[in-house]
């Protein structure tokens, strides 16, 4: 039973991951990523971390990817043009590299004892592992410092994002020295086709 669930959702994750990476329409890619995240959340449950699964769906799929969608809509990101002109070398090198990485890791895992408990079967899912109570207790006692720092990080991110994405004020627009130098295709999209 467990195996079946695993295999189903693992396959789903892989397939949707490929779609994310390969699909040209960014909106579709984002939706596919949502599907991947859902699958991984299920796998989290299987691994005895239901709270994390919930968090994954809530935060990752629910907040981060929605943010992605917002920005895609805002910037009106088009489909990527085909054919893919540019550097085939890059593409092949990347795919090859990824494959090699994967293969190496797999080989490593199967050869060493990294992936097993020395042959012993996995212990049962304990209360402490699964429940959120233990995690929360840790967060507010032993791991308080990282917790606070992450909070600080989020604050900084919020401030930074706001600052970076801010519309330039009128006076900034009139101070051309502050702008980045024009690229070769700057303004090209504004031209009438």
């Amino acid at each position: 039973m467990e195996t079946a669930i695993f295999l189903l959702f693992a396959a789903l994750a892989v397939v949707s991951a490929v779609v994310v990476v390969a699909h040209r329409n960014p909106v579709h890619a984002t939706m596919s990523l949502v599907l991947t995240l859902f699958s991984v959340a299920v796998l989290f449950v299987l691994l005895g971390a239901p709270f994390l699964a919930a968090l994954q769906i809530l935060i990752y799929a629910g907040a981060i990817l929605v943010l992605f969608l917002f920005v895609i809509m805002l910037l009106n990101v088009q489909r990527e043009e085909t054919p893919y002109h540019g550097q085939p070398v890059q593409r092949w090198a990347a795919i090859l590299g990824a494959a090699v990485f994967c293969g190496m890791l797999a080989m490593l895992l199967f050869r060493s004892s990294l992936a097993s408990n020395g042959g012993a079967p996995l212990g049962p899912l304990t209360e402490s592992l699964v429940s959120f109570k233990g995690l929360a207790a840790d967060l507010f006692s032993v791991d308080l410092l990282p917790f606070e720092i992450v909070g600080l990080l989020l604050l900084v991110a919020v401030i930074g994002a706001s600052a970076v994405a801010k519309r330039p004020t009128a006076e900034e627009r009139l101070a051309p020295g502050r702008r980045l130098p024009e690229g070769p295709l700057d303004g090209a999209e504004d031209q009438p086709r």
Binding site: E80, A98, A163, G183, L185
Partner: protein, 103 residues
């Protein structure tokens, strides 16, 4: 959940997801798509962490995943803000065209 699925399978899956994400991050032209691939890679890392947490019966892995999640959120926010800023200036997020670092 008594562990009939060996942990190594989870790990291989995570590796596979990571590799797919890496390939995508290095291959796509669209900046947003690259970002999506990066998120995929982060997710694969999360899966690995949870798997090990299960293997060793410790909570630490899950804790780290918690933090990774938070960091991913922060990173996504800032990154997308950057993209917005770039788009305003250059009217494109095609990374091929963002080549000011060219010698």
């Amino acid at each position: 959940m008594s562990g009939t699925v060996p942990i190594s399978w989870y790990l291989v899956l995570a590796a596979l997801l990571f590799a797919i994400g890496a390939a995508g991050a290095l291959t796509r032209r669209n900046g947003i798509s690259i970002f999506l691939s990066i998120e995929l890679m982060l997710n694969a890392a999360n899966l690995t962490l949870v798997a090990y947490s299960r293997l060793w019966g410790e909570r630490t892995g899950q804790l780290v995943v918690f933090f990774v999640l938070a960091v991913a959120a922060a990173e996504a926010a800032v990154g997308l803000a950057l993209f917005i800023a770039i788009y305003r200036q250059r009217r494109t997020i095609d990374v091929n065209r963002l080549n000011l670092m060219r010698w």
